[in-house]
């Protein structure tokens, strides 16, 4: 079923009776050429690109819950390519390019909106750092515009420019940055993969990984055993548990990151904005809710909900930056579980077990990476070679110290990112 304007017209005239399910609900087969564990954004896009780019269609995505019910539906939907370091920079650039063609490619409206992202700075030192970052982005082939104070005021007149403690000096505008509707991204990839023959199996939790003589033989699940020679693990947030089934320990600690949404308001915030002092970022959803968040709670957690101190911090930062939002009522808050690595960058690599591929450690930046991650991870699974845009996400960089990607410059150690 293809979506088109004509189709909408036809369905509108015939009582909308022709819209079917967006993907099948198949029983798991006894054997697949490859199995993807985890039906979140990364797992679904991996399956999609395995089928589309590599012709691998006898594959299954195993999801313990339902599609769109995990972290892919819990993030703050921001899409950007404003990374500084080699390794990250080319990968997120690759991912943003895929985003830009995604709706046409998937024939699905993921509401990708390149509304522009503005990172604010509040001191001369921060300005220097953003000039450097902006130059790195431009050198990568992406876009960055340095705004002075008046330049920011034209875009965001409602900020507290003369805040006594954190006056606004300017901002780095990334015009191609923006947002997308996160669950539509999951649905679009699920539908695209399904149309190419991929089995998407929900309510199917992997309970064991069968390994013989150092090679993958299959998985045990709550819906029976399934044989396969290749497993792609895309379970960020839960990577520690799934890796343990293969006898591995990963350089990952799971933390909770909170997010918030207000009641629906008339359009007021056109961009994605991040505060440069105190951790706070905000955008407005197409439904009208102000979607915002801050930093991790900073303790290991799988609770999917956070504690009050970080809520208070985020609200304080928001009020400091844009006092007008004090009038808005917060409707909901929730937490997502983040795979935190020591250097704050992800892992896309083979493991020491033949046929077990690892895609993990997305920290708090997994959503914008969804198309890019699927594209490069499917390449690794299909060809056993790293994709040219993702050669830096090696698992062994922590052991060797070579190629660490510490974007924040705080050190490669747990609890620093």
């Amino acid at each position: 079923m293809r979506f088109s304007a004509l189709r909408i017209l036809k369905e509108g005239l015939t009582g909308n009776k022709g819209w079917g399910a967006h993907w099948r609900d198949p029983e798991p087969k006894a054997e697949y050429d490859a199995i993807i564990i985890g039906g979140g954004g990364h797992g679904l896009s991996t399956a999609y690109y395995l089928a589309k780019n590599h012709g691998l269609t006898n594959i299954a995505v195993l999801e313990k819950g339902y599609i769109g019910g995990g972290n892919v539906g819990r993030n703050t939907t921001i899409v950007r390519a404003n990374y500084f370091l080699n390794g990250n920079s080319e990968f997120y650039s690759h991912s943003l390019k895929l985003w830009e063609g995604l709706e046409e490619d998937l024939n699905y409206n993921v509401m990708h909106s390149q509304r522009g992202l503005i990172n604010l700075f509040h001191s001369d030192g921060q300005r220097d750092a953003f000039v450097r970052r902006g130059n790195a982005m431009v050198n990568q082939g992406d876009d960055a515009v340095l705004l002075d104070r008046e330049g920011v005021r034209k875009h965001l007149p409602y900020l507290d420019f003369d805040n006594v403690r954190f006056p606004i000096y300017g901002g780095l505008l990334h015009p191609r940055g923006g947002t997308a509707r996160h669950d539509a991204v999951a649905w679009g990839f699920a539908r695209g993969a399904d149309m190419r023959g991929v089995d998407i199996i929900q309510n199917c939790e992997v309970t064991g990984i069968d390994i013989e003589n150092g090679a993958v033989k299959g998985v045990q699940t709550t819906r029976g055993a399934i044989k396969t020679k290749k497993i792609g693990m895309t379970v960020a947030g839960r990577s520690g548990q799934v890796a343990a089934m293969a006898g591995m320990r990963l350089p990952i600690e799971s933390h909770v990151l909170q997010a918030f949404v207000t009641e629906g308001l008339k359009p007021v915030i056109d961009h994605v904005i991040s505060f440069g002092m105190g951790h706070f970022y905000i955008s407005q959803s197409d439904k009208g809710g102000l979607v915002f968040g801050g930093d991790l709670d900073f303790y290991a957690s799988y609770a999917s909900r956070g504690n009050l101190p970080m809520k208070e911090h985020v609200m304080e930062a928001g009020m400091t930056l844009m006092p007008m939002i004090g009038e808005a009522k917060v409707l909901r808050s929730w937490g997502g579980i983040m795979d935190m690595t020591p250097d704050g960058s992800p892992i896309i690599d083979k493991s020491h077990i033949d046929g077990l591929y690892i895609n993990a450690g997305w920290c708090y930046g997994g959503f914008k990476a969804v198309p890019g991650s699927g594209s490069v991870f499917s390449h690794l699974i299909a060809t056993d070679q790293h994709h040219s845009e993702a050669t830096g996400f090696r698992l062994d960089r922590f052991r060797t110290g070579v190629g660490l990607m510490d974007e924040e410059g705080t050190g490669s150690q747990h609890n620093l990112h």
Partner: protein, 90 residues
């Protein structure tokens, strides 16, 4: 979340600095080899359930504390001075 400092009693979470998994209680020997040190510095069990981590009562008595807690429910099961835990291990 409130943590019970063995010295000061129950206090707000904001008074404490979180270090992470209490691996430091079992630090490898200096000559234990690269694999042991890599494992110690980087790799974690990362359990969904009961875990043991190290906190410091930074804004209080500055004691290092081993907190046994549940990462799924945020329930605090036990707190003890790291020095006492370490002494009991040897």
């Amino acid at each position: 979340m409130r943590l019970k400092c063995p010295v000061c009693g129950e206090r707000d979470r904001r008074e404490f600095y979180y270090v992470g998994d209490a691996v430091a209680l079992a630090r490898p020997d200096p000559d234990a080899g690269e694999a042991a040190w890599d494992d110690y510095v980087h790799n974690r069990d990362n359990p969904a359930g009961v875990t043991r981590d190290l906190w410091q009562h930074e804004a209080g008595c500055a004691a290092w504390i081993v907190v046994t807690r549940n990462t799924v429910s945020h329930e605090i099961l036990e707190t003890a001075l790291a020095a006492d835990v370490k002494r009991a291990m040897s």
